[in-house]
């Protein structure tokens, strides 16, 4: 037994430590000697064996990246493909007399001093195992010239680089997204083995959402290499499997038209096929050229895009949270009917403003003199604010919010694109959590006309309109329409996902609301009657003018005195034809003014583009040309 000391003795403890340290040092020595012995075994006893192995160990597994799937529109128009590019590159160790060779190369091929400077810089920084590109985009003549002289340029090679290409540039850029060089963060979400030979990966949009389908499966070659690492003999291989081709539901003609129409504005257009949720067009303007991102965007280009006050990188259709304004009145009307707070024939006295009983604050109607006694139908086509203030107030925020959620407001649609926003269908709980404040009845009143805390994305607006057009039948919006595994196989269609329908107590409520929307564009007093004039088909719509800027109680809105950024947003939602609707759209033009003035005519042009036959379109074009000719003749 060890004797226990009762007083803490520094000296004894020191001695104890010394003895322990000696034993430890001895153990350290023994353990490391054991490892050294192992090393002697490896490096002396088995030296020959391992030298032999190392000479045989000239097998190298070279990954072969798969070819990325192509992206088409619904009619087979190409949206993204792979562009083959020839480059001149070299590895640091393979070239003797680099400076002399570069000089001679510059005489043979058009190579700028900048190319050389960049090449030398990269050569210095990169690992010596990595090939560095000297010249990109070699032409066939240049390749021929180089090949004829290749013996003089030992170490330099012409390599093939496959590069993602977006042939239409900025068209549908937000939707398609882009690929870019793989970084560490990307590798966390994928199987690293599959990406060993790949250089690019989907970063945004469809390219990101369907990365796993587009990428394909990597193959490899097992090569015997010589002492310098140069492949000599193929021992085994496995071919890569190309990624799937994707057919989007986008109609290119409609998409291009939508982008053209928005050229003068910042804004977004979304068009959906109500019968199945296919997105026919999704435009967000301004747009950007995704090709810039493929090989790493330059700082100056990126800064220009990022610092542009119009925010071209931002997908307004999916992420823009706008006050929806009067465009939600049809959905609000249906919710009111269903809740029983209004009937198709009940009226409200629109005297130009609404007051909560016992409160002095006046919620004003856009029409100062008021609409008089007004029923549901007229409240929709003349967009009476007072009617909907009253409706929302009597429903109460809890019921109203829940009813509007069923149209998809305040919820993500679940579309097959990354970074969708849910925007906001406010509730009392939300306000308490967000601002730690009570919900006032006045807050409810504002949501009745799509203002206040209420915001929606253009996608949500189009989705809600499609739902309305289908009398409550809902299909999840989606962009992927079909896929194709191989060029020899037929396309496989994606089945649309039907969601639980919105049930109403009386089926005719749908028609009551839709009649109001038809009168918006075809009625004598509809707010959008100019956009409906001369249409070859009947459609339903609703204009909206969303306030960006709060106006004091006793002031009036005067666009000429406000900065452009504070001007009202112009909105329109609609669908056509009335029976078996084929298209539902939402248009928003930021700071463009009234909905009837800008958004409604744009929507009409889009509907024409989609619904008219080529012959009808031609007629319209000729008529317009004649008109402008007459005009110019008259002016002369």
């Amino acid at each position: 037994m060890e004797k226990r000391v009762t007083i803490k003795s520094e000296r004894a403890e020191y001695r104890l430590f010394r003895s322990r340290a000696f034993v430890a040092a001895a153990l350290v020595f023994i353990a490391l000697a054991f490892i050294l012995l192992r090393l002697v075994f490896l490096q002396v006893t088995s030296f020959e064996h391992y030298t032999k192995l190392s000479k045989e160990n000239y097998q190298k597994r070279i990954p072969i990246p798969p070819v990325r799937g192509l992206i088409y529109d619904r009619n087979g128009a190409l949206l993204a493909d792979n562009h083959i590019e020839y480059v001149l590159d070299a590895k640091r160790d393979d070239v003797k007399d680099m400076d002399g060779m570069l000089k001679r190369l510059m005489q043979l091929l058009p190579i700028t001093p900048q190319d050389v400077a960049k090449f030398k810089q990269k050569l210095r920084v990169n690992s010596r195992f990595q090939a560095v590109v000297l010249r990109k985009n070699l032409t066939e003549e240049e390749i021929a010239a180089f090949s004829a002289n290749r013996l003089r340029f030992e170490g330099f090679n012409v390599s093939v680089r496959v590069q993602r290409n977006y042939p239409l540039g900025s068209v549908a850029s937000h939707l398609l997204g882009y690929v870019g060089r793989i970084d560490k963060k990307d590798l966390k979400n994928v199987n690293k083995e599959e990406y060993k030979g790949s250089t690019h990966i989907g970063k945004t949009g469809i390219e990101k959402y369907y990365e796993s389908r587009l990428h394909g499966k990597a193959g490899y070659e097992l090569m015997e290499v010589d002492a310098h690492g140069k492949p000599q003999l193929k021992l085994d291989d496995e071919a890569p499997i190309a990624g799937e081709d994707l057919y989007l539901s986008i109609d290119l003609e409609l998409q291009v038209k939508a982008e053209e129409l928005l050229r003068e504005y910042n804004g977004a257009i979304v068009a959906i096929d109500p019968q199945n949720g296919e997105v026919l067009a999704m435009a967000s303007m301004p747009a950007f050229d995704p090709n810039l991102f493929v090989n790493g965007i330059s700082y100056s280009n990126y800064n220009a895009l990022r610092d542009n006050p119009d925010r071209p990188l931002y997908n307004r259709a999916l992420q823009g949270s706008y006050p929806p304004g009067s465009t939600i009145k049809p959905m609000a009307a249906l919710s009111g009917l269903n809740a029983g707070v209004v009937t198709p024939s009940s009226t409200v006295n629109g005297k130009g403003f609404f007051q909560i009983p016992g409160n002095k604050h006046r919620f004003r109607c856009w029409k100062k003199v008021g609409h008089g006694h007004i029923s549901l139908n007229r409240a929709i086509y003349q967009s009476c604010d007072v009617y909907f203030y009253d409706l929302a107030f009597r429903m109460g925020i809890k019921r109203y919010s829940k009813a509007m959620n069923r149209f998809g407001f305040g919820l993500k649609t679940g579309i097959d694109l990354p970074s969708e926003r849910s925007a906001l269908m406010p509730t009392a709980e939300w306000k308490r959590k967000r601002y730690d404040k009570f919900w006032y009845p006045g807050d409810t009143v504002n949501t009745g006309i799509g203002q206040g805390f209420f915001t929606a994305t253009p996608l949500q607006l189009a989705y809600a309109t499609a739902t309305l057009a289908m009398h409550g039948r809902k299909f999840r919006p989606h962009i992927l329409r079909a896929t194709r595994i191989s060029r020899n196989l037929p396309e496989k269609l994606v089945t649309p996902e039907q969601l639980p329908s919105i049930g109403v107590t009386k089926l005719r409520y749908w028609d009551d609301v839709i009649r109001g929307m038809v009168n918006v564009v075809h009625g004598e007093h509809g707010t959008g009657r100019r956009s409906g004039a001369g249409a070859k088909y009947r459609f339903a719509g609703k204009t909206g003018t969303a306030q960006v800027f709060g106006i004091a109680q006793n002031k009036t809105y005067d666009a000429s005195k406000l900065r452009k950024k504070l001007h009202d947003h112009s909105l329109f939602v609609g669908f056509a034809p009335l029976k078996n609707p084929r298209i539902a759209i939402a248009v928003i033009a930021e700071n463009a003014g009234g909905g009837s003035k800008v958004a409604a005519p744009l929507a009409r042009e889009l509907l024409d583009t989609y619904l008219l036959t080529d012959k009808q379109k031609e007629e319209i074009r000729l008529k317009q040309e004649a008109k402008t000719q007459k005009k110019t003749v008259g002016e002369q």
Binding site: E2, R4, V5, T6, I7, K8, S9, E10, R11, A12, E13, Y14, L16, F17, R18, R20, A21, A24, A25, V28, F29, A31, L32, I35, L36, R38, L39, V40, L42, Q43, V44, S46, F47, H49, Y50, T51, L53, S54, N57, Y58, K60, R92, R124, V125, N126, S127, R128, F129, Q130, K188, V225, A227, G229
Partner: protein, 371 residues
């Protein structure tokens, strides 16, 4: 002013143990040379490495200024903080790769098990510094609990490798405190009994695989066995004199995975041969010896116990890494100390050496009773 700065610099300089510093500089120079080769002469990585070195040196200088009484007082708080964070990680930890090792605070990612490598030996040393040594059964029991709690929390992550390293660091303190030899033998025997139990019941499949691979690397030629096969070929073909700096074809030709991090020892062995290995081990043994010496000169029990544990932990890293690369221990993600690429391990190790130097400076002379 000038005088003040002069005094500070003087104080910092006398705190540095010149013998240890020279050995460290030699080792790090050798390491930097081999890192240059292992990264494929990558200038960008060498620049980062330089920044790591500067940072680690600064941390060492600062650590050498912290009096051991202060460390002693901090121990319990650092330890408690570490345990709480480990629990938090288990509760809310991110589920990346099926393992929960990181705690995310805003954009900062934080690996609490890394802190425990220092916090556990500090805590145990602090506990013993207030008791009579050699310890009673009760003291050893409490100390074991102090080691086992964070260990089990780390095993749960699951990160068996780090858990064992943390446990070892704590165990070394108990050993230096004077754990009776009889108990030590008993521990060794129970560890031998526990080993197969842990293997069959306490390990994840991938961990079991790594152990199995050790005994038969050929069974898994392209998986975890690949590492061992390639690293032994690289070392073995280096021979007595090595293939020369920047001339290791095995490591050059991309056969060797992780050649600049965990497997850098294979590059060293291939290019510098057995002679290089002997010099390298000589330097390491010298540094460990000097660490133990500095610890024995420590001003109080806490300093000695912590210093001893830190020195032996350094040795364990060396043993586990070189054992793994030369194919006698299983593949565990432990870097070659002071040589592998990576800032975290370099800074932690240099901080430990800073503490060791600080202990020597303030020694009051040993053999005196502090009562």
């Amino acid at each position: 002013m000038n005088n003040n700065i002069g005094t500070i610099i003087y104080r910092w300089l006398i705190a540095i143990d010149l013998v240890l510093i020279v050995a460290l500089i030699l080792l790090i120079s050798l390491g930097t040379a081999i890192l240059f080769s292992a990264t494929g002469e990558n200038e960008a990585m060498m620049n980062t490495h330089t920044i790591h070195l500067i940072l680690a040196t600064l941390v060492m200088l600062i650590a050498s200024q912290i009096p051991s009484e202060m460390l002693n007082r901090w121990s319990i708080w650092i330890y408690l903080f570490g345990v709480i964070v480990l629990i938090l990680v288990l509760v809310q930890g991110t589920m990346g790769k099926g393992a929960q090792r990181w705690l995310e605070v805003g954009s900062l990612r934080f690996q609490p098990s890394e802190v425990m490598k220092l916090a556990v030996p500090m805590m145990v040393a602090s506990y013993f510094s207030k008791r009579n040594l050699p310890p009673s059964f009760k003291d050893v029991f409490i100390a074991s609990i102090l080691v086992l709690v964070p260990m089990l929390l780390i095993v749960k992550q699951p990160d068996l490798g780090t858990a064992l390293l943390v446990g070892t660091a704590g165990f070394f303190v108990i050993y230096f405190a004077g754990l009776p030899w009889k108990w030590l033998a008993a521990t060794a025997v129970s560890a031998m009994i526990a080993a197969p139990l842990i293997f069959y019941f306490g390990m994840h499949d991938y961990q079991r695989q790594r152990v199995l691979t050790l005994f038969n690397p050929d069974a898994d030629r392209l998986g975890s066995g690949y590492h061992i096969i390639q690293s032994t070929i690289a070392i073995g073909s280096g021979g007595v004199y090595g293939k020369g700096w920047l001339n290791g074809d095995q490591s050059r030709l991309d056969f060797l995975p992780e050649r600049h991090t965990d497997f850098i020892f294979a590059v060293f062995g291939e290019e510098f041969g057995l002679l290089g290995n002997i010099i390298l081990f000589g330097l390491y043994i010298f540094i460990i010896w000097r660490g133990l010496y500095l610890a024995s000169q420590g001003q109080d029990t806490f300093a000695r116990l912590l210093g001893g544990s830190l020195s032996l932990t350094f040795f364990i890293y060396l043993l586990v890494n070189t054992g793994m690369v030369s194919g006698v221990l299983p593949v565990v993600g432990v870097p070659l100390p002071l040589i592998s690429y990576g800032g975290t391990s370099l800074v932690t190790l240099m901080a430990a050496f800073g503490f060791l130097m600080g202990m020597k400076k303030r020694k009051k002379g040993y053999g005196q009773s502090s009562q």
